[in-house]
């Protein structure tokens, strides 16, 4: 396989920083250990396939030695089948030009599942590289009553074995000590990859069983709680019902829990607006600050609590290990429409933002499946749609209970998320019929053990989402709101004008021009103006509506909050039509840009924009006309 065939003499490497590679099965805690060693905050989740690129960091050991460390994508074997597994294989075998093999391989194994994990260890051992075995999750194994004799395991494998708990502070100390003991490190050229195939898989597995019999005892195993929970959660009938109920409760909470913090932010924004009006004379600067910046960026800021509540639930489900079960439950549905089982993680990531979802599609082996996943990823309801949905729902859907326990607003939000998923499945089915699908790719997914979510992970995850949202409000949204205010304020109204000045402005002229195209789906000229900056990112449309309506109001009409303004300005069919538009419309240039980069072609982003705009227009048209017919 083209590896280094010639044995080279060992060369001491203290002169340069030695490289430590973290290697192991998916979801055994490599990235958590990487974060623990380097102090980094790479994404960690309780399911396989989170790491799709190798990541490099560095650290100093307690003895003061400096190491570089590589976090590699998880693999079950060095016989790679996907691009991410190939990265792992090539790095360890030193097959990458300009990248020598690592000086030490730290093989991370899940102590509760050695039967599966040790096969890779034996494979890597045949490469002849210096190795350390990190017996991770020993705390979980001990709680279950599994006893593993680490010293005996070290004897059997012929390498140091250390116990680690990557999710606990200090859980990496034994590994650091082991690395210090190996100092000074030597460059050891790896054996050719063909060495792995010298022993058959069956023989390797027999060796794994022999070692396990010698080193571990499960006589005190208290039983696997995960299996007991899975008997219910993965039940063919109860499983999908539980999934639907969970998702439903999440969307109920988004509306029920967010009211108080949203009111607080709203009052804060209004208070700042009132203060500026109090201290500043009426003029251009005051208009920019109050109607442009506070009316625009402030309208978006209000939705921060709802976004955090949604991500709180997603992070909890992710950390406790439920999400891969959801993949398992949905696999039959996804396979039926021609999607690969591996598409679940990219599509799941797309609920936060389509961009990481599209990038995560790299783990899909089949180019056709990967393309279909990329093409439908933007249909998953990303967090940028939430402010748009929440604004319209709050303005038009009454805050009342259905059947005594469900919030109608939460129900509508749930329906919109469901509409996104259903349309993605329909589009995937269409691609399956047109592009052709020779076979259904089976889903091989290791279901992780359930555990209580780690509060630190949760807090960090929420903090990251908060930073991302605030950074967008403070950068792209703020910039576009200033530009929109300018375009909406100049030139001023002519003498004898009967409309507000914005009607005669550059933005007003553009909006009125676009109204000819969008009038059949019920959009007025103010909505048309908001759609243009909304192309940069979906939530910008909310800010744009805030600015446009702030400039459209005058005298007694002027209200600080956007929700009552649109409730009085739009008819219900228009609101429903705009909701339908945002389910489909590709109102995000960043997504199209990343699709071009990932497919290395202009063809697919153009195809994506065309089919999504066509779907959006058709859906809005139907929604608007049907709502009008029902007397909306």
């Amino acid at each position: 396989m083209g590896a280094v065939e010639k044995a080279l003499p060992e060369i001491p490497v203290q002169a340069k920083t030695p490289m430590v590679a973290l290697l192991g099965n998916p979801n055994c805690g490599k990235t958590a250990l990487f974060n623990r060693l380097t102090g980094a905050r790479q994404k960690v989740a309780n399911y396989a396939g989170v790491t799709i690129e190798r990541k490099e960091g560095s650290f100093h050991s307690p003895a003061g030695h400096h190491f570089r460390v590589l976090d590699l994508p998880g693999a079950y074997s060095l016989s790679a089948h996907t691009p991410d597994e190939e990265i792992t294989r090539d790095v360890v075998a030193g097959l990458r030009a300009g990248d020598p093999a690592p000086e030490v391989v730290v093989c991370v194994v899940n102590a509760t599942n050695l039967r599966l994990n040790l096969r890779l260890v034996l494979e890597i051992k045949r490469l002849g590289l210096p190795m350390v075995l990190a017996l991770n999750m020993v705390d979980v194994a001990k709680k279950r009553g599994l006893h593993i004799d680490a010293d005996r395991l070290a004897q059997e494998l012929g390498m140091p074995v250390v116990e680690t708990v990557a999710v606990q502070a200090g859980g990496e100390k034994s590994l650091l000590r082991a690395l210090d003991l190996m100092w000074p490190l030597h460059v050891t050229p790896p054996n050719p990859l063909s060495a792995i195939d010298k022993v058959s898989v069956e023989e390797t597995q027999r060796e794994v069983r022999r070692i396990l019999d010698a080193v571990s005892s499960d006589a005190n195993d208290t039983g696997n709680l995960t299996e007991k929970i899975d008997n219910v959660v993965l039940h063919p009938f109860a499983g999908p019902v539980i999934l639907a109920v969970l998702m439903f409760l999440v969307f109920q909470a988004v509306f029920s829990w967010a009211n108080a913090p949203m009111d607080l932010i709203k009052e804060g924004v209004d208070g700042v607006g009132g203060m500026i009006k109090g201290v500043m004379a009426d003029g251009m600067l005051r208009s920019l600050l109050v109607e442009g910046i506070l009316g625009g960026a402030g309208s978006v800021l209000v939705f921060l609590p709802q976004i955090l509540i949604l991500f709180f639930f997603i992070l909890v489900l992710e950390d406790c290990g439920y999400l891969p079960r959801a993949a398992f439950l949905l696999d039959r549905l996804m396979g039926g429409v021609g999607l690969s089982g591996r598409a679940f993680i990219p599509l799941l990531s797309s609920f936060a933002c389509a961009i990481p979802g599209i990038m995560a599609a790299r783990t899909i082996q089949n180019p056709r499946d990967r393309l279909v996943t990329i093409m439908i990823a933007p249909l998953m309801t990303c967090s940028a749609r939430l402010p748009v949905y929440a604004l319209i729902i709050a303005a038009f859907i009454p805050e009342r209970e259905v059947w005594g326990f469900m919030s109608l607003q939460g129900l509508v939000l749930f329906a919109l998320y469901f509409a996104g998923i259903a349309s993605a499945m329909a589009v995937a089915y269409f691609f399956k019929r047109t592009l052709g699908s020779k076979h259904q790719q089976p889903l091989m997914l290791e279901l992780p053990a359930y555990h209580w979510p780690h509060l630190q992970n949760l807090a960090l995850g929420l903090w990251e989402r908060c930073k991302i949202f605030l950074s967008r409000v403070g950068t792209i949204i703020l910039t576009l709101m200033i530009l929109l205010w300018f375009l909406s304020s100049f030139p001023g109204a002519p003498e004898g004008a009967t409309h507000p000045p914005i009607y005669y402005s550059l933005a007003g002229i553009l909006g009125r021009g676009l109204e000819y195209v969008f009038a059949p789906i019920g959009f007025n000229w103010q909505i048309c103006i908001a759609l243009v900056p909304g192309l940069a990112a979906r939530e910008v449309a909310v800010g744009a509506l805030g600015t446009v309506y702030a400039l459209s109001q005058s005298g007694d009409e002027l209200a600080q909050s956007l929700t009552p303004i649109i409730a009085s300005s739009w008819a219900l069919p228009t609101a429903l039509s705009l909701l339908a538009w945002y389910v489909f419309a590709p109102q995000c240039m960043s997504t199209l840009s990343v699709v071009r980069r990932e497919t290395n072609s202009m063809r697919y982003p153009l195809l994506m924009a065309a089919y999504m705009f066509a779907l959006a227009y058709a859906a809005s048209f139907l929604t608007y006309r049907i709502a009008l017919a029902f007397g909306g």
């Binding site: 003029g283 920019l288 910039t479 980069r597």
Partner: protein, 89 residues
């Protein structure tokens, strides 16, 4: 008058920020070409308009896509660049 001057400065800064940060890379390169033809220092203009960046311009670093290269079109070719994190413990 003072208000108008301040507004002009804020709007000009927003235009500059938008052009240097959120326009597509090809457009930014065109602007640099245009400015260079009119006597601007090419190196400074290229630096200001960040022509080497192909970031998606979404105003955040939520996905790390700005730091990575796109996936290769063939499944056998490995990804080239490493994301480097040098954090002291």
């Amino acid at each position: 008058m003072v208000q108008q001057v301040i507004v002009a400065v804020i709007v000009a800064a927003a235009v500059l920020h938008f052009c240097t940060k959120y326009l597509p890379a090809a457009w930014r390169r065109q602007i640099v070409y245009f400015l260079t033809k009119r006597g601007f220092d090419q190196e400074k203009a290229a630096k200001l308009f960040n022509t080497k960046s192909s970031g998606c311009g979404d105003g955040c670093s939520s996905c790390g896509s700005c730091e990575t290269t796109p996936a290769e079109t063939t499944t056998t070719a490995p990804l080239k660049r490493v994301i480097k994190l040098h954090v002291q413990r």
